[in-house]
Amino acid sequence: MTRTCTVAPLVVAFLLLCAHAQAQTPADAATAAFKDDVHAGAGLACASCHTAAGAGAYQTPRAAIAPLCATCHSDATYMRRFDPQVRVDQFLQYQSSTHGKRMASGEARVATCSDCHGAHGVRRVSDPRSPVAPLNVTTTCARCHGDSARMQPFGRTATPPADWSASVHAAALLTRGDASAPTCTACHGSHGATPPGVTSVANVCAQCHLREAELFRASPKKDIFDAIGQAECLVCHGNHRIESPADHWVGLQEGAVCTQCHDQASDSAKTIGGMRDGLERLSTAVSAAEALLARAEYAGMLVDEGRLALREARERQVQSRVLVHAFADEPFTTTATGGMASARQAREAGEAAMRELQVRRLGLAVTTLLLVAFLVTLGLKIRSLPDGPS
């Protein structure tokens, strides 16, 4: 009796201790995460997906995950209950994707639904905490595609995510918060993720860079590029590491992208050289005008019309750079000339302000002369007064 009394509490304490000391089971972790899940909010529970849960089996084989999600997410009638506008073709797209095809052929080391969306804490894509939200999606893709250990068995490099991070699009998205900037999914697709066809990726670029695409397609280059099977935009601008283009990309000097195909002897050398000179002259004119206006403002003059003209010159400069994509003398030359005219207007406004400054100084000189003459005469008058000066 006494022995049970002493041992029993010890046993109970030991069991309680063990219960606390044990790490949270996967089931516990999943239950906790599921509280924030969008499915929980829709009234679903563990058994809705884990249909064999009664047997204690929660593990789902990787190849079975996508078909499992598809039982609801491809059913238009079912999904309409929760969101009448939601798409129901994700599984079809997945099956056409590289991930889906490989999974179907037995390769389990590729992405499936839960790898990107999560399993038990699934949030809406519009939720900023979701791993597939626009600002997070590249980090999610990079988990595999930036890991050389994972990519090596497939003979792929792991550089694209790092390359993209150095691009203007990454800067737009992550630094400026511009959610319209393209991420991995913009060119590769999300559910239908596939390396885009070399000739079709330009269609994606064209969605935002419409003007450049229109010009290119109307230019002689389109047929040439189709013939040699080269991607429109990628040859000069790259695919992942798209950096800010610079004026010196155009031309026949060393380092210019045109030299990939052209040299001094080619027919288009004159056009290329013309565009190069046009861009350089415009850039010099704009900088000179800016410097002059800044000087005038620093001296206290206001140059509103000059600023407006400079703004116009800058816009013409941007337009000229866009018109390079027509790869012809016109309409580039007209716009560049227009830009020169605006830059000249800006410079003239700056020069007028500086002249006005000179006019003021001249007016001051005249006034000062009058004042000095007056002071001298007054001094003489004072000295000439009777009961004289001190």
Binding site: D178, A179, S180, A181, Q207, C208, H209, L210, R211, D304, E305, R307, L308, R311, E315, V318, Q319, V322, V366, T367, L370, L371, A373, F374, T377, L378, L380, K381, S384
Partner: protein, 145 residues
Amino acid sequence: MEQNRSRRRLLNWLLGLWGGGVLGSVFYPVVRYLAPPEIPESATLSAGAGSARLLLPNSGRVVPFGSRPAIILRTPAGELRAFSATCTHLDCTVQYRPDLQRIWCACHNGEYDLNGRNVAGPPPRPLEPFEVNVKDDEITISRTS
């Protein structure tokens, strides 16, 4: 004695001459200052936007508003509207597209509807609206307070 008198007269005359000059160089700027300048008000609060008669329905034009551009347009229904012409994406100057009946930005294909709301493409915010008034065929646009 006489010399003194005439010297004094000369001195007084010179004093009057230079003194008049000094007074003139004081009063000339004051008089010029008092006359109101051509554009009587600062163009940062309101600006002229040209003739109303010449602005046909379903057309628009970009006009200066201080040192920034503004766009004045007449809707197909005939109503005058005005907005800041600086695109809210990357500051390019927008233009009116009669074929789209929208305000369009050439830089990245952004579109705004006729209420200035951003409806397509990258622009994140609507265009700032301005008040429009017409007097004697002259349109005046001004900042809304």
